[in-house]
Amino acid sequence: MSLMECKRSTDVREVLASGHWPEACPTELREHVNSCRRCGDAVLVATTLRKARASALPERPVVSPSLIWWRAQLRQRQVVIQKVSRPLIGAQLIALMIVVCVACGLAAEAVHTSGGWQGLVHDAAGVGSAVNSFVSGVGTATLTAGAVMVALLGAVLVYAAFGRE
């Protein structure tokens, strides 16, 4: 199988591209195509595929371009919404984790103060006293500092998420 180009392949391509094949094609080029396997293949394949392309074009009605435009807009809206909701979901997860941690701390304190789970059930004021003892144990200043830290971290998180966009 030789990959050497036939000397007339450019002429054949030009005749095919200009639509001059076969009627307006010079006789000697037509004779060459009949005798050259490479050019014969090119002409056979090109004419068959072009006929197939021409017959395929009106074969099926295409959907309206406005429908495609609308679908593209819809998809882009979804992408924008996803971009916005991603950091929000992250912030919500962090907030949830903080709430769960605080709740666990309060529950542990309440259990400890009431002398076990049974004491907690009987002592209805157990939770309230646990909160009081938690606040007094940790200290108001420390709690305030913690809240400020959480607020700052949240702000940094939101800035980082939106700043990257």
Binding site: L44, A52, A56, P58, R60, I68, A72, V84
Partner: protein, 183 residues
């Protein structure tokens, strides 16, 4: 994109496609000129008109959503064919449908004799005997008349290998057509 920009974008009634070099009117004209050639390419290389419908629509949607590097209609059309080629490749890579519900109705449709032209009657079995990559190459080269360099851009193949692959595919298809698609 800041939150304010996002809200503004969502509130705008005439939301244009960000990144797309075309407005809706330009796109409509481009679509009218490009949709059928793209459909013909996808249908003939996949052998499945219903799949070609889906992939053609998806190609245009992705074309609009992508930050298109296309500059001018020729570039835009080449970029569109590249998207279609990638979608087709993804489709072929996916596992085949295993359930009867997953098989499209077009597979079972009886093709009308009127629709089948003589050349197509020979061409379709012959194309069916080529590998998908060979079908793409001969179609892009001889039906769409793309150069080897353009075919390389569309298919992602090395431009040096296009010549050899195309030569083999063309010879194979010509042999099949001469033998009536039965070789």
């Amino acid at each position: 994109m800041t939150a304010q920009q996002v809200v503004q974008a969502l509130q705008r009634e005439d939301l244009t496609i960000a990144g797309s070099p075309m407005d809706s009117e330009e796109f409509a004209a481009f679509y009218e000129r490009s949709a059928r050639p793209l459909w013909a390419y996808l249908a003939r290389t996949s052998g499945d008109p219903a799949l070609a419908d889906d992939l053609m629509q998806e190609s245009f949607v992705r074309f609009l959503c992508a930050a298109s590097p296309a500059d001018g209609e020729v570039d835009a059309r080449r970029y569109l064919f590249r998207i279609g080629t990638n979608l087709l490749r993804d489709h072929w890579r996916r596992p085949k449908a295993s359930s009867i519900e997953d098989v499209g109705e077009a597979v079972f449709a009886v093709t009308s004799c009127v629709e089948v032209l003589d050349s197509q009657a020979l061409l379709m079995p012959a194309l069916g005997k080529l590998k998908p990559r060979e079908r793409q190459l001969v179609w892009l080269a001889h039906a769409e008349e793309y150069s080897h360099k353009e075919i390389a851009e569309i298919t992602g193949l090395g431009s040096a290998s296009i010549r050899l692959l195309l030569f083999r595919a063309r010879r194979k298809l010509a042999t099949l057509l001469r033998d009536g698609g039965a070789a």
